[in-house]
Assembly symmetry: C2
Homo-oligomer: 359 residues x 2
């Protein structure tokens, strides 16, 4: 079954809008590098020869804001300035911005919080970014931040108790089983390939795409050194709830986070396989040092709740969510996970250009 | 203050989605005439000379469906067939459809009910259709059904107890006061002018717009013969609630429905004032005879609730809505308003083409 649940909607205490400072940090950190990328790599002359009256931008996996608005603002300003400088004020196109996320995303909240002073026409586009969402050659700039670590579906073997990749008692691939990691990695490569194939159709030649991908450092020989203490701890909480009789232990076995953290070398190899894009820049952003995850256990628990609650509700029902995330906050406090240096997640920035297809 | 509330969201008993059969009747009735209009008036050769890779359609005031999906399906099919017939299968463009309504519209419900088998890319566009919502020259076909009877704001003099146009004790202009009717009509002309000015910018030259406008028959000399028994009855219910002590009587005086029903001659004159459009067809649709308003009092009350509840809640608070619409259903039953021949609302269809601007 495809993973369909989106980030927590609304603007309440448990909403993504109120609990996405870490993701916001990524966007803030990327501002400069995106502006630089547009200055250096957007070929205005070439684009304008095909008469761009409207410059179309899409943010894939936008959720509910405000991060998406900050990212879009950066892009619109950089492109506008480039048009003004290289051509003239009168040649600046109008901007149309498409906010994309899953159908279950809270678009009502997104629309209600659109910046009133924005200088672009806004639209929401519901649907999975692993598929086509836009007409051919209709976008000039694509953006996606902190979303390309989500799998489109869970690989079946993970959930199959007769498979060597059965991930019993765990909710992610952190651990010793190589088969589990492999199943996740294969699905990820397939998904990312779908993402790039779809975007290659949608972007005009010369169009740019900036992606901020949650990754882990390039591994040495020992892939099993990749661990996610914070996810393991969430798994432990689920097991404890099962022990308290809230649901069957088998429920935990059949639940896995559809998340995979690729590493820069693997990411680069997947993109290079797609001949429609050239990599203009790839680098690891130093997000963590500038935008520390909130060390307060309750805030840390809330941030994870905003992201995973929908997914967990679908599987376990919604009556255990308060208990689960209270327990999680407690365990976070006991183990001091947020400041644990073993948590290896980082963000890799990639800027690609849609090249002319050789057919 | 601009009127901001939208139709009732969701898919429950009181939702617009479940209570818009009359509006659906208009869309059904217009199917044939829209298809005909596209066949006769869409200049494919001319459009395709400007290389239409994507054919862009917008529905202004779409609400939550299903009516909007039926209308869009009709338009997409007619355009597709025309391309196939006049050019070739390979020249059929991709379709992108924009669903527009106020920011407070329930886009989440709209997106969740998008037809899965649709052959177009969908997007939602939040914002008032009395203002620009799209980039210049970006639309090929615009549509709007049963929405162009809403005013963008209430004219101030209606609410001013020192003005001859003060509409005390009434919630619409049905009645004897000419000043009230005049204030409504002036605001309407202004709003419709804004609508056409905005669409003229957004539509490409040769682009078409089909509007289904709730109207009344062309009046004779006696404008005050225009009456709306069903709205008057709703006003009576509000006064009765004030008498029951639910709210102050002044609350009713300061409430007016921001609805104006123009008549074919007036509509034509307003459109003709705008030099950017040529009227290709204008005619009254025989909706009522084919799609009678539900004569069941409860259903009639629900249909009005789906449309006006948001507006009434804003003004009177939400605690009286059940009482109000129960009372309304009772009064409908007593007076047999739904089958009252004095209710003169009908629907006028207009097809316009965006002509080359003479500058």
């Amino acid at each position: 079954m495809p993973t369909e649940s989106a980030m927590n909607g609304g603007i309440g205490t448990e909403s993504y809008a109120k609990n996405s400072r870490y993701q916001g940090g990524a966007v803030e950190t990327a501002k400069e590098i995106i502006t630089e990328g547009i200055n250096k790599n957007l070929d205005i002359e070439k684009l304008s020869s095909t008469s761009v009256d409207t410059f179309r931008i899409a943010d894939f996996g936008c959720s509910t804001g405000p991060n998406t608005f900050i990212a879009i603002q950066t892009i619109v300003e950089a492109v506008r300035k480039k048009f003004e400088t290289e051509l003239s004020d009168s040649r600046v196109p109008e901007f149309q911005v498409f906010f994309n996320d899953r159908i279950s995303n809270d678009f009502n909240t997104l629309f209600a919080s659109l910046p009133p002073e924005r200088k672009y026409y806004a639209a929401g586009v519901p649907g999975s970014f692993y598929e086509r969402q836009f007409p051919k050659d209709s976008l000039h700039f694509a953006h996606s931040s902190c979303t390309l670590n989500w799998l489109s579906v869970m690989p079946q073997e993970i959930l199959d108790n007769s498979s060597p990749a059965w991930n019993q008692g765990k909710i992610t691939y952190s651990g010793e089983k190589k088969e589990v990691l492999k199943a996740y990695a294969l699905q990820y490569a397939k998904d990312l390939d779908s993402f790039f194939k779809a975007r290659a159709q949608e972007l005009v030649c010369g169009g740019l795409m900036a992606i901020l991908v949650p990754t882990v450092p390039n591994p040495n020989s020992d892939l099993s050194s990749i661990t996610f203490p914070s996810y393991d701890l969430l798994g432990t909480c689920l097991i404890e709830l099962a022990e308290r009789g809230r649901f069957d232990a088998a429920k935990v076995d059949s639940f896995n986070l559809p998340l995979y953290y690729t590493y820069p070398n693997e990411l680069k190899a997947i993109i290079e396989k797609n001949q429609d894009f050239s990599i203009e820049r790839i680098e690891v952003l130093n997000v963590r040092s500038k935008h520390q995850t909130d060390p307060d256990p309750k805030a840390f628990s809330l941030a994870k709740r905003a992201v995973f609650e929908g997914l967990l509700q679908e599987h376990f029902g919604n009556e255990f969510m308060d208990e689960l995330f209270d327990l999680y906050a407690e365990k976070i406090k006991e183990t001091a996970v947020p400041s644990n240096p073993k948590e290896t997640s980082m963000i890799t920035f990639v800027l690609v250009k849609r090249v002319l297809r050789m057919t």
